[in-house]
Amino acid sequence: MDDLKIGVFVCNCGTNIAKIIDCDAVIDSVERLPYVAVARTYKYMCSDPGQDMIQADIEEYGLDRVVVAACSPRMHEPTFRKALQKAGLNPYFLEMANIREQCSWVHDDPVAATEKAAALTAAAVMRVAHHEALERRSVDMCPNTLVMGGGIAGMSAALDLADAGNRVYLAERSDHLGGNVARTDLTAPYLDSARDMLTERITRVVEHPNIDVLLESQVRKVDGFVGNFQTTIRGKADDGAPTDTVYDVGSVVVCTGYKEFDASRITHYGYGKLPNVVTSFEFEKMLRAGRVTTKEGKAPQYVAIIHCVGSRNLEFHAYCSRVCCMTALKYAHEVKSAVPGAYVSDIYIDMHAFGKGMEDFYRRSSEIKTLFLMYEKNDYPVIRKADATDDCDMLIEVNEILSGETIEMPADLVVLMVGMEAREDSEEVAHLVNISRDKDGWFIESHPKLDPVATTTDGVYIAGACQAPKDIPDSVAQARAAAARILARTARGKIEIDAVFSEVDEDKCSGCRMCNELCPYVAIEFDAEKRRSHVISALCKACGACVAACPSGAITARHFTDKQIFAELEGVLA
């Protein structure tokens, strides 16, 4: 290590850094540190000339470590790693000091800021001295895919994958395909039939030579890692007995969908007690049967639709279920055509008419004389049986915001727009494929904006309403996006595995097994023979939990070793 040559490059980022931080002062302070062979500033290190400068210096001074003091590593670490690679240096010999986001942009005192920048850069220098050359490895990518859930999302993903010539195992818990869409009549805003839409999908899926449709089957186990999963699926044998089959797949798409909110949880609506209060799904059933009537078999004169049942309130779910508003408008149209002369009232909190053609649909719905009543979040309307003298079956009391009045709305049939909820098995599924769930039980995507279909487990994708409430177009879009992501990978045939992961030093491991349970990715396996634990690098996401927990210091986190962090620590405190 005595012959180390470290190059330090301090970026001005135009004036972003330089206007607060005295970059030359930073240079002066780090130049004195051991192993620093060259230290420079430049206006834009990330620019091509900036990177050329770094590469040139690597050549000229024979640098074997590089420190770039600039923006956040989350911004340009990949850029500079490439630069090192181009200059024939291992990309992991780079360390960045974040002197923009975490220094020049957040401090106004130039002296203090410069001092801090110097400390951070010094820390980077001391850390990088301990960096090791790491090699990315590549493994074969199995082209098969397991799609969990035979709803509209699952089928769409399956078809795209299968059309590209890859084998798809489509596992569905129930005995039929179609999911929740199969329970709906028409779709907003164009009022075309969900059934027609589905039949096309279903026939294609069932007849597709590359798709194995596994009905009444459950995924029991998902082992392995991206490109190389072994999935155990429990299905029914011909004699009806449950049988487990193992399928090798390279990717998994989770499309397990949602379940509807249980309306009886809101007592104000008397669901389950008042016979003519029905959920949106029960109403869909009436519509599909083509006869909209009350329990008594009469055609309803007054139909009331209550929005946000279970959604957008403090008691149940804070989130918006996104599809109910437009579905409710769809009902307005369907009621008017099923029962001409019926009066439809929409009791809503806010009208969420997002998405293509929806605002216009909202307008058209009000033109057919739908009465919109607005109520306050958490101030539930109350439904009660009407008196014999009334010309209606029920009366809904609403504190109506737009008029400021408390209104008593007559109703013969009340439709509750029940919101979407994470399925009760979502925890089980999350555990199965090692993905996380948010506080509402929806699966968490890898990045809310830039990577909405991937998950924190490489090779596992999510699509449809299992990630968050979604309508059909969004679900399909996400499903096909997932398919595209998978195809892009299978096309390459191999996948690269990050060089940053944890490893067990088997000469130090005492087999205490403290770490085994800690790994969220079950990447640590215990060899009972040798009585040693070891990390399956492909599964490891390098969180370092096991490293910190190992009582005998036998586990090392590549690129985040104790040595490296201690060095950084001494640096910032120097």
Partner: protein, 327 residues
């Protein structure tokens, strides 16, 4: 005296004497020592005076084995003296190695210790005000006591140490092995272990030698003191909620405690390369707590009284913070 014999000294600093006993416990091997060496100083076993050592030329001692930590000026003086006179200086036992039990006193200010020992202590006659003083004049004599330092030091915080033999005390077998190794090295029969290495112990943690079965699932809702629970003699103690330092402790003792149903206390110190045994044990304990709720976690930890004295039982002086910093 035959000059081909090794010249050795065995001394104790702030120690209980257990280390010396562990050497005696090597039974007939003690005769081999005698055969191989002249013991110039060994307060508990042989006659010998400080001045004999002072009289020696530097390096006059082949080996100096010192047990015990440095608590006072006398411990320190002798440490320096032995270091100066010896070719190989060995820190013997946990106190010399890490501060040991005595260094638990580092968590308490010196004044409190004095007060507890000489002023408010049940075994004193009431109203006693006599406390040890550095100098006392008594019937014309000037008496001097060593200075009682503010804290305890492990040996290498005071002098340069060549080898460490861990244990409280080191197991006779290990002691024998260590001494043999040294003698062989000094007599050129074997290669000397690298300076600063821990001799007479394993390179792995205790679990490696512990016969108890270890399950993958280690989750506890509460901890037990050994006497609070009927333990399963086959299963890992930690899995049963009995706090055991084994996973964070260097092996070499022969797993005596866990084998006899007593959790390991960590006297052999941290596993190789570990900075602080206490911190590591802390992580180990934390990783088996079965809760995600901050309050429940606190509840569970209530069943774990005085964790610090367990985590750093033998290694307060060796821990990064070394002592209490209460103002």
């Amino acid at each position: 005296m035959a000059d081909d014999k090794l010249q050795i000294a065995i001394y104790w600093g702030a120690a209980c004497g257990g280390c010396d006993v562990s050497i005696l416990d090597t039974d007939e091997f003690i005769l081999c020592i005698d055969a191989a060496a002249d013991i110039l100083l060994w307060p508990i076993a042989t006659d010998g005076k400080y001045k004999d050592i002072e009289a020696l030329a530097d390096g006059g001692l082949d080996v100096a084995i010192m047990s015990g930590a440095v608590r006072n000026s006398e411990n320190e003086r002798m440490a320096h003296l032995l270091r100066q006179k010896s070719k190989v200086f060995v820190a013997y036992g946990s106190c010399a190695y890490m501060g040991g039990i005595p260094s638990l006193a580092n968590l308490v200010p010196r004044e409190e210790i004095i007060a507890r020992a000489y002023l408010n202590n049940a075994s004193l006659e009431p109203g006693n005000t006599t406390v040890p003083r550095l100098r006392t004049s008594l019937n014309g004599y000037d008496l001097e006591l060593p200075e009682f330092y503010a804290r305890v030091y492990k040996l290498d915080q005071v002098v340069d140490v060549d080898y460490y033999v861990p244990g409280c005390p080191p197991q006779p077998g290990q002691a024998q092995a260590a001494i043999t190794a040294l003698v062989q090295a000094l007599t050129g029969q074997a290669e000397a272990p690298p300076k600063g290495s821990v001799v007479g112990a394993s390179e792995r943690a205790l679990c490696d030698d512990c016969k108890r079965t270890k399950a993958e699932e280690k989750k506890v809702k509460r901890f037990y003191r050994p006497w609070q629970i009927m333990q399963d003699p086959e299963a890992c103690l930690m899995e049963q909620g009995i706090l055991c330092a084994g996973s964070a402790t260097r092996s070499g003792c022969g797993v005596r405690c866990p084998d006899s149903g007593i959790p390991c206390r960590g006297c052999y110190g941290p596993a190789p390369g570990v900075v602080d045994q206490g911190a590591k044990l802390l992580s180990a304990v934390a990783s088996i707590i079965d809760s995600k709720d901050a309050d429940e976690i606190d509840e569970i930890l209530l069943t774990l009284p005085d964790f610090t004295s367990f985590a750093n039982r033998y290694s307060v002086a060796a821990s990064p913070l070394q002592r209490s910093h209460r103002r």
